[in-house]
Symmetry: C2
Subunit: 153 residues, 2 copies
């Protein structure tokens, strides 16, 4: 088995074709990691969530790390690791265009898991939660791939 760096083109290709990743943030020296749904668009990672630990921590410390992976087999896999900064997209005139873009991008995904936004229905009364839209500005990308040829021993 061989592990080698991937090209920038391969990294972007994986980010575009995958929509489930993991995002890490930190409060003081304590890191936290959780799965999330995202869309990649022109050097930004767009996502949304309801207010909770992840949003609170990223608001206080905008340094984050995003990891995305694709597994074909035990010998063929690809990972991308991004270092970047959290940018919230609030409902203000300044961020209107970017917020609409985030909404349009994310509405294309089938949010099939760990939704950032969950409607709860209780006695037929819907109580939609308010989503927080955000994006990660990418400051560094690196990637690796495993390639078959030699068995893992």
């Amino acid at each position: 088995m061989l592990i080698q760096d991937t090209t920038p083109e391969m990294n972007i290709s994986l980010l575009k074709s995958t929509h489930l990743g993991h995002i890490a943030c930190a409060q003081g020296s304590q890191p936290y990691v959780t799965p999330f749904i995202y869309m990649y668009h022109e050097n930004f990672i767009y996502s949304f969530a309801t207010v909770g630990k992840k949003i609170e921590w990223m608001r206080a410390n905008t340094l984050v790390c995003v990891e995305v992976e694709k597994i074909v087999s035990r010998q063929e896999w690809q990972t991308v690791v991004i270092f970047g900064r959290y940018q919230e997209l609030p409902e203000t005139p300044e961020f209107h265009h970017t917020r609409v873009l985030a909404h349009d991008l994310l509405s294309k995904t089938k949010v099939w898991w760990e939704p950032g936004y969950v409607r709860t229905v209780n006695l037929q009364v819907e109580r939609p939660l308010q989503p927080v839209y955000f994006r990660i500005s990418i400051t560094d990308i690196s990637g690796h791939q495993g390639m078959g040829g030699l068995p893992i021993v």
Copy 2:
């Protein structure tokens, strides 16, 4: 779709039945997350790696976060998030027993992806790398599950 807390028994069950997770560490305020292979045993997460960013960062700041997930379908999934501390298991008499335990536990896994230890073979000459064994002492576990019944909208 409903999301609810899981019981401690469900969390331990997921940790025991899964061997691929994600581990986050931090250098200063910068978090870092990467996939890793692990084995759960009596309130510890055992793993190994070669020296690199992850090991270097965890040696300097032992606060880590481990996330493990199981996806059955878009509506049925379970996640466990652990906060804990990195403990390296060096080749010293003090850690001999624990290091042997880690080796025995991890040798049971089929390391099918993102191996912490990769042999490289060049012109028939093997150059094994020196693995770093470590464990995470668990200070907090929480878990969630998604349950079907309502469609994700």
